[in-house]
Symmetry: C2
Subunit: 341 residues, 2 copies
């Protein structure tokens, strides 16, 4: 397997100094939970946002998500005196005219993406950066029908977008490296850590890892090995607590002791290979499997309203970010930079 299609620029993985690009206005096109959270991050970082979404619920979603975001920023002690504004635009054209940056978060269908990108391009200035929130569609696919494909990047966030700082920035074969850098600068300017994914593959980096876990978890539920609650308990009481502060590789490095990563591989490599060949196939997504998951998830979380779960999640993540900032570590360093503005 080689997923490599396009590689832009710093292929060595050398660290590049990201220069923040402050913006005053932006458009958010598509305003479900992700779009609304983008709007919230932009507003709370001083940007005036025009939002376009045909759904009659869009404004309500913005109001609710922004309220959560304001509460989280208050709790985190981030300054709110540089707050921007938002307005519901009448159309995509109305939203994107005269903004230097557009974030697209419409449904994950290539035909919808193409139609929306065409509408954005018809009204936006030719050099506006367009970021797409897609979780998996390659930018080269999306930019194939564009007039100015050189300014399209994927800017893939993690929800809650207003709190989790990472964004994966992926250029397609027509994206210029200058525009990748500009996009990184714009994301850095709203408190984010923009990681440039230099080789274009389906699902990029984070969702590759999440897909792998999801596939495996489906097997465990399908085979009756564990319930959704048990799987989640093992994550949240186990390695999830590690990954909020050290990733896969750094955690394993620590496990390997003073011998570094080579020692870890020598010590655990053979063990880690054992079950591999058995984990390759996938469970069929049958109605029975869906029913099982739905029932187990209801038993696990059905007693909580979603908005209540969101507030709990935010309160927990805010607490973690405070800890990390105090310890000058991991995502806390990004928050410290955001605080300085």
């Amino acid at each position: 397997m080689s997923g490599a299609v396009a590689s832009n620029g710093d292929s060595s993985g050398e660290s590049i100094e990201i220069v923040s690009v402050p913006i005053e206005r932006a458009a958010v096109v598509g305003c479900g939970v992700i779009g609304a959270a983008w709007a919230s991050r932009l507003v709370l970082n001083g940007v005036d946002v025009a939002i376009s979404d045909p759904s009659p619920n869009a404004e309500q979603i913005v109001t609710e998500v922004l309220a959560n975001a304001v509460a989280a920023y208050d709790d985190l002690g981030l300054p709110t005196d540089r707050q921007g504004t938002y307005r519901m635009a009448a159309s995509i054209a109305d939203a994107v005219a005269d903004v230097p940056f557009v974030q697209e978060s419409v449904p994950e269908r290539p035909d919808i993406k193409a139609a929306v990108l065409a509408e954005i391009e018809a009204a936006a200035s030719a050099d506006a950066i367009i970021g797409s929130s897609t979780s998996g569609i390659k930018p080269s696919v999306m930019q194939a029908t564009m007039t100015h494909p050189e300014r399209l990047v994927v800017g893939h966030p993690y929800n809650p977008v207003y709190l989790l700082p990472v964004v994966e920035v992926v250029g397609g074969e027509h994206t210029t490296i200058e525009n990748v850098r500009r996009a990184q600068g714009i994301y850095a300017g709203i408190g984010m850590k923009p990681v440039h994914v230099r080789v274009e593959i389906d699902a990029f980096v984070g969702d590759r890892l999440l897909e792998a876990v999801w596939r495996e978890a489906l097997w465990l539920v399908n085979d009756g090995v564990a319930t959704t609650q048990e799987i989640d308990d093992i994550i949240t009481h186990g390695f999830g607590l590690r990954w909020a502060q050290m990733g896969l590789f750094e955690t394993y490095r620590v496990a390997g002791g003073a011998g570094g990563f080579r020692h870890f591989i020598e010590q655990f490599g053979p063990t880690l290979e054992w079950p591999w060949t058995k984990l390759m196939d996938t469970p069929e997504f049958t109605p029975e499997l869906v029913d099982t998951i739905v029932e187990q998830s209801d038993a696990q979380s059905g007693m909580h309203e979603i908005r209540e779960l969101e507030r709990t999640r935010d309160r927990n993540v805010v607490g973690f970010l405070k800890v990390l900032e105090e310890n000058r570590w991991g995502a806390g360093t990004t928050i410290a930079e955001q605080r300085e503005g």
Copy 2:
């Protein structure tokens, strides 16, 4: 694929009330990082521990890991007035005689496990519970040569064992459900959340998920898509912050909104299926791939001493646990129970 071999008891996944089983003495056999961390958890929860390990470094490892554990418990504000003692035993026989509980953490080789279990059984009382820290070997395999196989369980922890509360408890085909419950009670008595893995499969639950991520991450490094630093940044600044407090399923439930998990699957199911078929094969663990990982890991973490990284990790995890306990959520609820004793 079906990994099912043996299923013990509560196959429905119904929650069982775990009754703590307090113990006064225990043996730790095998004292690398994991064994030493078990010894530390036992001592700090009031148990007198006899430790057996032929390595001349074993006592030093215990001293260092216990110092980290004491610092973490102080920081967490857990009472230390019920602290137990530890001693380095002259032999396995010396360590395990007259203890109700033995935790085995010797290297992950079936032949070594078998030899050590034989030595333990030769000296331990017939009803002492034996827990194995193995990450992947099935208890049915380990108990095949045992005299009293009915008391062997896997008790698979996550490092740092003295802080992360979860332990996967897995019985083999000869383990009685009474002994699984006793083992769960013993682990609960030292502040842990013992999750009974009811179906015996290679690598159990958490390591299945970790294997999947590890395999995928190796591809990303192998194909030059991302460096170890970039992958870790995406974890620690993204979904890692979520998983310290809500697992895979609860997080996705929240993403699906008020429609519950069925809505999530309807909304994202097809997208989630897209890249699956491309993620099935595995990279070969070539010397070149090992070199690449080692170099990238050195660049990422080589400036920190391992003990320093361990202290940083513990300080971060302690902070997270305090946040979760204050919010009465996730692993914080287990810590609250541990605090009450």
